[in-house]
């Protein structure tokens, strides 16, 4: 019994799940109608559905970010890439008032995703091939990306009236659950299959733990890094489609703003170390749900959107603090001292 309990608490998913359950309990108590789900026009509505719907783009970002962080890097450009992707798809579809398209929908999507992969590949080239620090390499696109998105939209906010575009971030006809979560789930399943059925997951972890040793064992470190950044770009691109579809417009300034922090937060809550190595996509997904429910809860209690980063920054530091080896050493030092004192007392009693 004790062993089984230990096994459960040791699982990577345990702590993230516990936090999520706590969040849900908090919400059930303090937020009205949290659990109520309505069935209207063939779709489900309710706070929980809303959280899941809004968490979908974050889940996608967190997927890419998890793999990037697992190789010991970080991708700060995801928000900007999302903005580029949204800007491109909206400008290709065009803002025709009668709801017609200037270019076929599917071509717009393919173009946006292609450019997103390109953006990710550029990061991968800088980090993998040229060996530039991930922070600086991705910071370039983090800043320039919004400029590029601005140039694509011509500084305007393009509003799209084409109906099917709204399906991506909302509901498609005939499907009761949000379409965005289906997209996220499909991507997740494909990635999980690729990671578990091939040695890819192992390679990524090994690059994160020790890239020099990995190179000597014959793993192409450059290729792996290139791949994870390109994948992160793709994820950001899909997330960008969903985000812009939710507001049916391309907003180069605000789409995905500060979402890189959310993605990193989701990965950190999921327990993946910021230094690379062991990772768990499932835990990151739960992390994304937690981040989104924190956001929604804070909105519900009346915290403004601009102040949210302050709270999230504190949470990130707190998590890194708990993860920190140094802290554990220091704490275990204190505990063993206390324990030692107790033992001494015990011997005195004897």
């Amino acid at each position: 019994m004790h062993d089984r309990l230990k096994l459960i608490t040791k699982s990577k998913l345990f702590w993230p799940l516990m936090i999520l359950v706590l969040m849900i309990i908090f919400n059930i108590i303090f937020v009205d109608d949290f659990l109520s789900i309505e069935f209207k026009d063939g779709h489900l509505f309710g706070r929980i559905i809303d959280i899941i719907n809004r968490a979908a783009p974050l889940m996608l970002l967190a997927m890419g970010m998890t793999l990037v962080i697992a190789t010991g890097g970080v991708d700060l450009s995801v928000g900007s890439t999302a903005a580029i992707s949204g800007a491109l798809v909206c400008s290709l579809i065009g803002g025709n008032f009668d709801g017609t398209v200037q270019n076929p929908f599917i071509i717009a999507i393919i173009a946006a995703l292609f450019v997103s992969i390109l953006a990710g590949a550029w990061n991968g080239f800088l980090v993998g091939k040229l060996g530039i620090q991930p922070v600086v390499a991705t910071l370039i696109l983090y800043v320039a990306g919004r400029g590029i998105a601005q140039l694509i939209t011509g500084g305007q906010i393009i509003t799209v009236y084409y109906k099917p575009y709204a399906y991506l971030g909302g509901f498609a006809p005939g499907i009761p659950i949000p379409f965005s979560i289906i997209i996220a789930a499909v991507v997740l399943v494909i990635v999980l299959l690729a990671l578990k059925k091939t040695a890819l997951g192992l390679f990524i972890e090994s690059v994160g733990v020790n890239s020099v040793a990995s190179r000597f064992t014959g793993i192409s470190v450059v290729k792996i890094k290139f791949l994870v950044y390109a994948f992160s770009g793709l994820c950001a691109g899909i997330a960008g489609l969903i985000i812009s579809s939710m507001i049916r417009a391309a907003d180069a300034n605000n789409a995905g703003l500060m979402s890189e922090m959310d993605a990193i937060l989701a990965v950190a809550i999921g327990g993946t170390s910021m230094a690379g190595g062991r990772f768990s996509l499932g835990a990151s997904m739960i992390g994304a749900l937690i981040v989104q429910s924190i956001t929604t809860t804070l909105y519900a209690v009346g915290v403004s959107a601009q102040v949210l980063p302050l709270i999230k920054a504190i949470v990130v530091i707190a998590i890194c603090f708990v993860q920190s080896e140094e802290l554990r050493h220091k704490l275990s030092g204190i505990f063993s001292k206390i324990g030692g004192a107790r033992n001494e007392k015990a011997t005195v009693k004897l």
């Binding site: 970080v74 620090q133 922070v135 600086v136 910071l139 919004r146 500084g155 990130v316 920190s324």
Partner: protein
């Protein structure tokens, strides 16, 4: 006989100075109004805050770290001083001193988290970035205009040089910080320790240098520089707004890197960062003089320039390493 040769350490700096001269000449050829002393001095006036940020960043990069929080500390300082001076009626000079203290504490906390809890610099300072922005928005989401007389007097004061040329108080502060930073970097124990840590941290530790103290102090210094830049920026903008200085961390890093500071640490010149910042100022001026280009081009051009310089750095380092390897082979033979 030894040929006078440019050390690979100085190549990026030389390229930057050359680039600066070329850009300035190009501007002068294209726009006659460009060729005046005042345009040159305006570069200092318009980029005083960036010069100060870049100086702080140079130290951080030299020890092999990174500070992403500089732009948001600048924004927080601007916002907090506007709030305290306008809404609380505090003495402007007391506010300025308080702001420098806040910057120091900000940097000290970040440095301590990085050094004593072995957290990655990027995650700590990224959290610092979001914390600063959030805190600024928490003070006020609306813009706070500074109407205080002292602030306005300082903002409009002109330090006359020869002829009709002048610079602002902000530019004077930037130049003073520059001179101090050059002194600290090259003529103090602290500065030399910083270079040693960036070169090789373990060696520095074995040499008995105070590694932990120096690293924490470097982040503190960067915090102080950000706060000073924030004060200069509040003279320049005369307002506090939670989106001030967005993306400025990249500008500061770009200034340092364009000025020849290696991202891998150990190599960097404060004077180079000055040229890095001025080069960005010129690019901004050229885009403004052109008039037809979207202001977003500034960001894209600077990002591209940063890219080019990073790639030059990589190539130089790679060449140096291969030369070293060759040298080793020769001595072994």
């Amino acid at each position: 006989m030894k040929k006078p040769q440019l050390s690979s350490k100085h190549v990026p700096l030389a390229i930057t100075v050359l680039l600066f001269v070329v850009l300035f000449t190009a501007g002068a050829v294209k726009y006659p109004a460009f060729l005046s002393m005042q345009v040159f001095f305006n570069l200092f006036i318009d980029n005083a805050y960036l010069i100060i940020l870049a100086i702080g960043m140079t130290f951080v990069l030299v020890i092999g770290g990174i500070d992403l929080s500089v732009g948001s500390v600048l924004c927080l300082v601007c916002m907090a001083s506007a709030h305290l001076v306008e809404n609380k009626g505090m003495n402007p000079y007391a506010v300025m001193v308080l702001m420098v203290l806040i910057g120091a504490v900000y940097g000290l906390i970040q440095g301590s988290l990085i050094q004593f809890f072995k957290m990655q610099p990027f995650i700590v300072t990224l959290a610092g970035l979001f914390f600063g922005r959030g805190a600024a928005a928490w003070i006020s989401i609306e813009t706070i205009n500074i109407t205080n007389k002292t602030y306005n007097d300082i903002a409009h004061y002109r330090v006359h040089l020869w002829g009709d040329n002048f610079i602002s108080i902000g530019a004077v502060i930037a130049l003073v910080v520059l001179v101090l930073a050059i002194y600290i970097a090259h003529y103090t124990k602290f500065g030399r320790s910083a270079y040693a840590i960036g070169g090789n941290e373990s060696s520095a530790m074995l040499m008995g240098l105070p590694v932990a103290r120096t690293k924490v102090l470097v982040y503190t210094l960067s915090g102080v520089c950000s706060a000073l830049a924030g004060i200069v920026f509040s003279f320049y903008m005369l307002s506090g707004y939670s989106l001030h200085g967005q993306g400025m961390e990249l500008d500061a890093i770009a200034s340092a890197v364009i000025g020849g500071t290696l991202l891998t640490g150990g190599v960097g010149y404060v004077i180079g960062s000055l040229f890095g910042a001025l080069t960005q100022g010129i690019i901004q001026n050229l885009i403004m003089f052109d008039g037809t280009l979207n202001s977003w081009w500034t960001k894209i051009v600077i990002a591209a320039l940063l890219c080019v310089f990073i790639i030059i750095q990589r190539l130089l380092v790679a060449r140096r390493d291969s030369q070293k390897a060759k040298g080793n082979v020769k001595t072994a033979l």
